[in-house]
């Protein structure tokens, strides 16, 4: 952690939302934030490739010609599934809720749980 002062993050003034549901705007902003990070990563990989080529380690042709072993392919496939699982978590967590115990189904049952733990005495 640095002790640098923090610049203001939010611009003063109400933020407009354009879609009927502002959550769509928020999702889009997150998606583009993610795209930005992917782009940063891709640029960094490119730097690594350029440096490697400059120093005679390997070049773009070597990368194209690279044939992963079955083990490497399996590792990659598993990593991709894990990543997709993280990204799409929200989609199947809803289904998991439906499939779970009956009390997980809705907000009302959650409120019951809250009231239960709040009122429970020894």
């Amino acid at each position: 952690m640095s002790d640098n002062p923090t610049l203001p993050r939010k611009a003063k003034g109400e933020r407009p939302f354009f879609f009927a549901d502002p959550d769509v705007d928020k999702l889009l902003a997150m998606l583009m934030g993610l795209a930005g990070e992917v782009s940063v990563m891709r640029d960094r990989m490119d730097t690594i490739e350029q440096l490697a080529a400059q120093r005679g380690l390997f070049n773009a042709t070597d990368i194209e010609a690279f044939e992963p072993t079955a083990e490497v392919m399996q590792q990659r496939a598993a990593r991709r599934q894990e990543m997709l699982g993280e990204i799409t978590r929200i989609v199947y967590s809803e289904i998991e809720g439906l499939e779970g115990r009956p009390e997980d189904k809705d907000r009302a049952s959650y409120a019951e749980a809250m009231s239960m733990v709040e009122q429970e005495t020894d």
Binding site: P5, T6, L7, P8, R9, A11, P16, F19, M32, V40
Partner: protein, 389 residues
Amino acid sequence: MDMNELEQGRHDMLPKPTHDELARQQFARSFKEHIVAKIHPGVRVAYEKRVEPEITKTTGKAPVLRTDVEPFMTKDPHYQMWSALLRTSQEIMWSAAQKPVERDLEGLVRRSKVNGGAKGSLTLDPSLAVPRYLSAVDIHCQPGGYHTEVVSDDVAPGAVYDRAVFIYAMGQMGPDNSDIGRSIIEWLKERRPGFEPARILDMGCSVGHSTVAYAEQWPQAEVQAIDVASPMLRYAHARAESMGKEIHYSQQNAEGTNFEDNSFDLIVSSILLHETSQKSIKNIIAECHRLLKPGGIMVHAETPPYAGMEAFDAFMLDWDTVNNNEPFWRRSHEIDLKQLAADSGFDPDKEFEEMASSAFQVAKAKRSNKFQGGDFGGGGFWFLYGAEK
């Protein structure tokens, strides 16, 4: 694209970004370029194919004003998507510009302290109030605006602004973001061949993007530049010194300065007027009249007024008013400029409203040649408003 568009001109006050900080800024720029080139054109298609016919069908007449377009267009899914992406790109841009500044702020403040050998000067006035029109909301969504200071002798807003303008303009305002100043100079050369102003005032100069162009063009002239925000001026002064330009920066409000009557040959501003208010724009033009020598000229660069524009184009140009924290944008584009000049003491016959070609022509062919939200540097022209005294 040549290097002048790809790389900002170096000077001592630009923080050196890390590899990933730079990549993040480059993404912000690519994202904007993508919106301008690929997504924006679809907004017109959506308008022509489904929104305009809908307006005509519903209201029984073709749209004439931007207000005829607005209630229908804001419901169009493609317009909504373009708007949401453009707003997001603006937020990503500021954040990306902030990061290296925040990391290197101590060093920037240190480097801003020009010790001896200064060609120009810096005069701050801590008692000067930040006008309401700048403090009410953070103009064009720069977090903290021009004026917020988080450390003593802060220069961060200037450093963030300098970098963000280059990203925002996608390099189309030149490596030093000086296109507006340069365009005014080129226009003046045609209007007044041989014009050699002895004393120049740049109002609302921010970090001096245009100011430097005047100092470069007329090295014999005394160049004064004013702004209300001290962090911008500290940065502007250090930047000008590192570029070897003699400019005298002072913290003053353009509505009422401490300069003497009839003392300037040329008074300029670059996209200042739309960031003021109904009351202050009158004060500023009146102040120009007071300060100009007889025969002197004021030139204010903006984007063109809505009058005479197609309803759709005016609606699109108006996007920033509500969506990019530019509260005076709309009114400033609808004001009666001839009347404003006349009310301020100028002869209405000596008032002018003209389009000047962008001086940074290198990439003109690649530009969109349209004034549109998110791409004002891509218009290929600047609207010049002014008068001779």
